[in-house]
Amino acid sequence: MAKSKKKAGDINSSSMADIAFLLLIFFLVTTTMDVDTGMKRTLPPWIDPTEQQNDVDVNERNVLKVNVSRSGAIMVGTEEYGSNDLRRHGTHSRLSQEVYNFLTHLDRSNKKATEIDGMTYDVSEGLVSLKADDETKYKVYLKVQDELTHAFSLYRDDISFLVYGAKYDELDDIKASNIRKAVPMKISEAEPNDQTKK
């Protein structure tokens, strides 16, 4: 009886921190913080091989051919590039510099008058045709894709600077989509030769 009259003591709250820490650590372990990042691409629509194809006519001088061999050697046009040429020195690698030159120089690819936001600018018609061997390592392949994309990004920056006086990244959505439309990332991948092969 005396016991029930006794005032209940305070619950010791010093272990509260421990419990909270435990929960915290549990959530740290079970969750992931990483945002999904990746390089976006659009595949060409499927063409039935049995159907008659009408190939798109592209002026030969507007195409820069990039071939990647199984050993990781790269042919750009008629010149050979190695894995070292994919490495960045400052903002460029040798490959991205080459592609950028191809896009910007008048003697390499044709320019087409393109309307951007009511004004007309000369935009390169150049496109890069990428072909990789089936045995090429994905790491090399993506690095090549990366450098090709980089060249187009630099070119977009140029056009964006010309039109809006700001870099492409700094533009708002509408202006950015105008630039995207005017300067599409023209990296075409060759149709695989043997479609039955897995």
């Binding site: 709250s13 010093s14 509260m16 921190a17 419990i19 909270a20 820490f21 929960l23 915290l24 959530f27 740290l28 079970t30 969750t31 992931t32 913080m33 945002v35 999904d36 990042t37 990746g38 390089m39 976006k40 691409r41 659009t42 595949l43 060409p44 629509p45 499927w46 990647v68 960045r88 990789a132 061997d133 089936d134 045995e135 090429t136 390592k137 994905y138 790491k139 392949y141 993506l142 690095k143 894709q145 990366d146 994309t149 980089h150 990004s153 695989p192 479609q195 092969k197 897995k198």
Partner: protein, 152 residues
Amino acid sequence: MAVMAKKGKKEVPAMSTSSLPDIVFMLLFFFMAATTMREVDPLVQVQMPEAYEITELDKKNLVNIWMGKPLGAKVGEDALKIQLNDQTREVSDIRDFISATTVTKGVGPKDIVVNLRVDEGATVGKLTAVKQELRKAEALNISYAARATGNN
């Protein structure tokens, strides 16, 4: 001066730890809000390649396809496997997977972005086979998953 001397001799009281739980709870809530639960357990090993030109992907209509060596594969064994959701499947299953996903998500195949999480040691030939299937399934928006260069 006498007052000063007295103050200096006084012992520093122990720091109150009563607010420690609050701080930890705050951290806890931050992590709960900022992170997402791991949805699928990986069945294949994917070491993502590094790249500079990457963008953040919107989680909403993202569909993941993993490609790599199965977990626990022996050294030298390089049979690439494809993981869709939480099963390892074949390349020919991709079309069914895409059409099933579009039904559950309630969007067309053109509205989804297929995130290809491919191991950096994989070969392009296998990737091409996957891409051909995606083209047949009309899922044309893809992304090559990569991590920012320099980050781990």
